[in-house]
Structures are given as structure tokens and as C-alpha cells.
Symmetry: C2
Subunit: 279 residues, 2 copies
Amino acid sequence: MGAPMARRLIRAGHRVRVFNRSLHKAAALAADGAEVALTPDEAAYGASAIFLMLPDTPDVEQAIASIEPGLEAGQMIVDMSTIAPAAARALSASMAAQGVDFLDAPVSGGESGAIEGTLTIMVGGTEATFSRARPILESLGKRITHMGPAGAGQMTKLVNQVAVAVTLEATVEALMLATRGGLDPELVLEAIGAGAASSWQLNNLGPKIIARDYRPGFFIKLLRKDLRLVTEVARETHTALPGLSLVSSMFDAAAALGHELDGTQALATVMEALAGLKQ
Amino acid sequence: MGAPMARRLIRAGHRVRVFNRSLHKAAALAADGAEVALTPDEAAYGASAIFLMLPDTPDVEQAIASIEPGLEAGQMIVDMSTIAPAAARALSASMAAQGVDFLDAPVSGGESGAIEGTLTIMVGGTEATFSRARPILESLGKRITHMGPAGAGQMTKLVNQVAVAVTLEATVEALMLATRGGLDPELVLEAIGAGAASSWQLNNLGPKIIARDYRPGFFIKLLRKDLRLVTEVARETHTALPGLSLVSSMFDAAAALGHELDGTQALATVMEALAGLKQ
């Protein structure tokens, strides 16, 4: 995700300095006009805005720990990773103590959204910091919403993932019943894809499920990480989410079947296993 | 559903004779130009096409049993109720033995779809009968799909209801996490309602759930009946539908909480009960 987002920032006229733990990934952006840094603090040094896009909470905490000594009051950090809301709140508070503005701004829309600049961006932080970041975020995303104080962006992203995961389960179960019921599943999508049964998941991933095309739009491995964060927040807030709990188990089974690096639509393989169908 | 559909047929220029077990409901259509029959066989007698719209399998079987003595070869029955696919296949076969054409043609889209003539119609039966019925169906619905032989329309409707019910669960769980997570749920719908989390259920019923507006678009009582049919077919075809099983239990709880005659979005009250919130 980071590379296409950096490219959009460059194309929008920003001066962009990049760092990646796999240095060749950062180096690949030199041709696009990025300056390539060899360490996180070199990338962050003196920058008015510092963007992070990392897999999980500890990655973000480590990155911030490594740039922290060089941070100066007035800099702004925009973390676009999906991490625990509580961690985002803690980071925001510790940055505020140093005069550094912090936003949690996780995204939805996958690699294609990053390339096309059509990401949905859900932002937590102060109104002032949101206003400061907004002009930059507008070259990355389309629907950019200030959700509330620190952590509110991450919380919104987790709500998004609950809807995504359970709606995907709806899609795979509907298509499995269609197949077992002797119907042509493509014709079923045509018949039901515009009414009360319709969803982004059904209309976009349904055809891939039918074609057994499991190439990743979004990795099961990453969705499982997000669902772990959901489960943590649900425990903390005493929120029973029975459907989400079930779907988390289904994704555990998808991982067991070897589909961690496939797209989320490979959840369908779990239904196939339950139906006694060959993989 | 039957009344607005009859009105559309009248408006399309058809001569329509109506019967309802609650005679005053049929009588109300006289003002629109319908002839009102006092018995089912009077309504069916000599009609080129006989439309049924009834709550459940036994209602349809009884209606057909009562008109059967007067049926003549060449008549056509179009059953737009949602009933068991196996019952539709049996009725089709017994009608065929008398030279009567039969279609199962259940609909999706609710009362508003019936009024506006925008129903989704999923049809099972022979190609010839489908072609014969299609011009009439076009005044009732927009997306009219011939799904296959007898029973295929009913099977498609059940697939539709699996997607509807589990996607509604996705919606109520996402909104509950939003509320418990301290977010403004309306703002959440705005932020996530166009991306991978989006669905008809989220976008149409989400605002009603937030407003605790449980007025029925589609009764929980009727969806529970449809889910019973799904469960029967899943058993017959050895199809494990874990999400649907869970959601069926949630709707049983909604019925226990007194919401059978509320709209399906009152599923949210079950989440509220689980969250220890007052009704």
C-alpha cells in the first residue's frame, strides 16, 4: 500500500522522502522522484508531515520509537496503518507531550484504491490537526471523514472490518447454497445482485469466488490481524459480536487450509471443505 | 404484496379478477377496476393466467387444491409466494399432468418494490412458460430472471434470503461496535457506506436501526418463515451454513423479544439485549 500512496503524493507535487525495512522497496520509488532514506529517522528528519503505513501495532510503535529522538515540536505524524485504537490513543498522547501532532488515519479500499487515490480514510485526532492534514490526504483518498478524537479512526476501521468480514460470510454461504441447490451461481449473482441481498462483497468478490480466483485484493493474513484487533476491542468494551466470532473462526480455518496469502474471498474454501468438496 | 401487484396489472391493461381470504382486502381493489371473486375457483375460472401471492407452502397447496377441479388445459399458474422448492417442483409436476403450465416466481423488493413495479423476480419453470408469462411479469418487476426448471426460482429466493439475513447481521454487529466504541453511528455510515463494507442492508436499514425505527419493510415473521425453508433445504442438500444458522437463532430471539411484526432491522434489539441495553 505504501508505494502507490507515496507515488500519489509525489505526483501531487509534494517532496517525498521514503523509508522501508526492505530497502529495495524504497529504492524502487527513486525512479518516481522520491528521495530514499536509509533509516526511519533520516526519512522523518525535518519533515512537516510523517506518514506511516505498516502491518500491525508493534511495527508502528517501533517506527515511532526510532524516529522519536529526532522529532521536533510542530511536526505531524499521520499513521495510516490499522492498529489497536488504544495504541493510537497512547501514541497520540505521548506525541502531544512533545508538541507533535498525531492522527490515526487508517484506510479502506485496497491496493487499487491506493493506486487510484480513491481510498476511504477514517481519521481520529484533533480538528486542527485534521484540517492541517486534509489537503495532503485529498491526494490519497476520496471519502475522508473526521471521526472524532484520537483512536476514533482506528475504531471506525474495525467497525468497517466487522461489516466486511460478516458480509463476505453472507456471500460465501449464499453462493454455496446456490451451488448445492443446483443453480447456476453466475445467474444467481445477476438475479439478486441489485436488490436487498446486494453488497460490495457479493458484487465484487462473488464472481471471483465462482471462478475460484483467490488472487489477493486483501490478504487473509491481514484481515485476520484486523479481526484480532476487533476481538480485543469487543472484549474491552463488553460487546458480544456472535457473527464476527464465527467468521473469525472461519478465517482461522482458511489459514489452516493454507490460504493466508490468498485474498479474503478464499474464505469460500472453508465452505467447500465443510461441503466435502475437493480443494 | 398482492394488492399493489394487482393494481399494477390493472393499470397495465389486464382484466383482473381477485380473491383474498379476507374478503374486504379483495373488495378494496374494486375501486381500482378489479372484479372481486368470492371464492378462489371463481377467481381462477377461465383465466389465462392465475397469480398466487400467499404467506407459506400450505397456503399455496390449499389454494391450488381448491381451484384444481375447475382448471383447464392451457391455463397458466404463476406462484409468486416464497415456498419450499420441493413443493414447487411437486405442484409443477401435478399441474403438468393436467396440461396446466406452472411457474414458481418468488420476488424480492418488498411492498415498495410491488408498488413501484421494481420487484426482482426469480423464475423456475419451462422456457416456454417463462416466455408466455414474461410480458405480464414485466409490469410487476424490473430484474426478471429465468433461473432454470421448476423450483429454481424458489431456490434462488432462498439464496437471496441467506445473503439478506447474514448481511443484516453484519450491519447490526458493525453498528453495535460503533456505538460501544464511542463513535457517532451516523458518521460511521457516512464513512464506510461506499466501500468494501457497503451493502443494501447497511445503507438502507442502517439509518433505521440508528433511529430505532422498526416499522416493517419486511416482517421478521415472514423472514423467519423463509429461514425455516432455507434450513430445510440445507438439511436436504447437506449444506452447512454456519452463519445462517447463527442468524436464524438471532431472529428466534427477536421473536422472543416481541418483534415478529416489526421489520427485519429489529434484529438490532437482540444485539441491544446482548449488550445489556434497555429495550
